[in-house]
């Protein structure tokens, strides 16, 4: 009973969000982001994604070991992404990382498609 009165006079625990700033930990896994320059189109991210977010799209051709093969880059359907970070762990080139952004609700699915890797093709 005494606990009750003590709690009554302390500040309540409710956080102020959305009227205040959201507080997330440093390792919080939010929206995915890519650095298109580092991406080489190896396709490992597509193979390991549990939510089939990533599709490799052909963007041209390149020469590898004397043969001409398709050059691919990833397109991310981020509305399906579960922010697990497996692609981040498995990308050898460090092109992917998870930001702290989490306010992703939208009425337009296409606004959550990330295709900026298609634009930078080496």
């Amino acid at each position: 009973m005494g606990e009750m009165f003590r709690t009554a006079f302390q500040r309540p625990v409710t956080k102020d969000y959305p009227f205040g700033a959201p507080q997330v930990a440093e390792r919080f896994r939010g929206k995915l982001d890519i650095d298109p320059v580092k991406c080489t189109g190896c396709g490992v991210c597509e193979a390991v994604c549990p939510a089939t977010v990533i599709t490799m799209i052909p963007v041209g051709k390149r020469k590898v070991a004397g043969r001409e093969i398709e050059n691919k880059r990833p397109v991310f359907d981020l509305y399906t992404c579960i922010s697990c970070g497996q692609c981040v762990d498995d990308c050898r080139f460090g092109a992917l990382w998870l930001t702290h952004e989490f306010e992703l609700a939208t009425t337009d699915k296409n606004s959550l498609v990330m295709n900026k890797a298609l634009k930078v093709v080496v």
Binding site: A25, E26, F28, R29, V48, P50, I82, Q86, D89
Partner: protein, 397 residues
């Protein structure tokens, strides 16, 4: 048992007392319950079938989403089963980190249940206070793993990331805080008169019922039988940091309350001990994509009891069969047995005394067709079966 609509009260599937939907038919005489008939299958999601389409590493994320509260237990059971198949020896540091997170999860799960006991007995204040303290644990988990519930932290050859550098100070502070608050809650549940009369002597089970119906986890330990997978078959780092198995003796809900509070305190001690003794080294190795042919089983002590995984690999990148037996499945019949002879007012408290996680349990719904012995049933056939069944039922009543 024969019953008529007058003395059958449906509890669920959707009910304020249950977090997840399950249907219990309570057969009453007046306000006294004489039989409970459960029907499960309301949260069946086809996870075992979905696992057969995904590669080994993708399945880690599938299985951790079976349950929010014991998510990490599923995660480590699956990854350790595969590590057995691969015959890997994961780094020692990874084993210690797995222990720390598993115990943190046990604390959060028990605190969740304790708060919900307050909610189910109408004691909202206890509910709010305990969940306020649980936030401390969840914030700690978020600092370490990046997310509060679906931790995505264990991977096939260890853990994905190391602990943050300055985690020692907050860890010690929070564990000490949780220990103090557990002491306070222990005195509260023993002395708060209205809570005591709601929980003492309710749902009493004894060792005969236990031998007949084989419950697992805290439900088993509250009758005085000290069995715990962490001690009998150690995994992660439990062979070096040995938990002290707590029991309580009365077999009723009040003793379940005390038992879980004791387990919370024990988990705090284990976390601190593991953190002091943690060895340095790598936290994961590179795992191959394909797993050799074979079968592996693994069981862990999830917060609710013994969680059991069976994995069969055909020698490729995709599993052939994964079977999961969750603790709630084992406890369900014991809980319905606990209810007999009590009144309707005790139903929420007793049914949830086993800390049910129907989301975990329901994946194990077994489909039997007596016409053709199929293992899987097609979606369209299932839908047609459902339509026919309801049509038949409506024409009967």
């Amino acid at each position: 048992m024969q019953y008529s609509p007058e003395n059958m009260v449906p509890f669920g599937p959707v009910h304020p007392a249950l977090k997840e939907p399950e249907y219990f038919k309570l057969i009453l005489e007046g306000e006294k319950i004489v039989e409970v008939i459960p029907r499960i299958g309301y949260v069946h999601r086809g996870i075992e079938r979905a696992a057969q389409d995904r590669t080994w590493i993708k399945n880690v994320y599938l299985f951790e989403r079976i349950c929010g509260i014991c998510s990490f237990a599923h995660s480590i059971a699956y990854t350790q089963a595969i590590e057995n198949l691969l015959q890997f020896e994961i780094p020692r540091r990874a084993r210690y980190i797995r222990l720390i997170i598993a115990e943190l999860e046990r604390i959060h799960s028990h605190l969740l249940w304790l708060g919900l006991v307050g909610y189910w007995t109408g004691f909202d204040t206890l509910f709010m206070w305990i969940w306020k303290d649980r936030e401390h644990v969840l914030d700690l988990v978020e600092t370490i793993t990046g997310n509060r519930i679906h931790k995505s932290y264990s991977t096939i050859s260890g853990v994905r990331r190391d602990l943050p550098d300055n985690i020692g100070e907050p860890l010690r502070k929070e564990m000490k805080y949780i220990e103090e608050r557990s002491e306070y809650y222990k005195s509260l549940v023993s002395s708060e008169e209205t809570l005591v009369i709601r929980t003492r002597g309710i749902g009493r089970i004894n060792q005969d019922i236990v031998r007949k119906l084989c419950p697992v986890g805290p439900l088993l330990r509250c009758t005085g039988i000290a069995r715990d997978v962490r001690v009998e078959d150690p995994y992660a780092a439990y062979d070096e940091i040995i938990p002290d198995v707590k029991t309580s003796n009365d077999g009723d809900i009040a003793s379940l309350l005390l038992l879980r509070i004791e387990e919370v305190k024990e988990s705090c001690r284990l976390v601190l001990e593991a953190f002091e003794k943690i060895p340095s080294g790598p936290v994961k190795l590179t795992a191959p994509r394909s797993v050799p042919k074979g079968e592996a089983i693994f069981h862990v002590e999830a917060p609710r009891g013994e969680l059991f995984y069976f994995v069969r690999s055909p020698g490729g990148t995709i599993p052939d069969r994964v079977k999961i037996r969750t603790p709630t499945m084992a406890n369900l019949l014991t809980a319905t047995e606990m209810l007999k002879g009590h009144t309707l007012a005790d139903v929420p408290v007793v049914l949830t005394g086993m800390d049910p996680c129907f989301g975990c349990m329901d994946r194990v719904s077994i489909v039997e067709l007596d016409k053709s012995k199929q293992w899987a049933i097609r979606g369209e056939e299932l839908r047609q079966f459902g339509i026919d069944w309801y049509k038949q039922r409506r024409s009967k009543t």
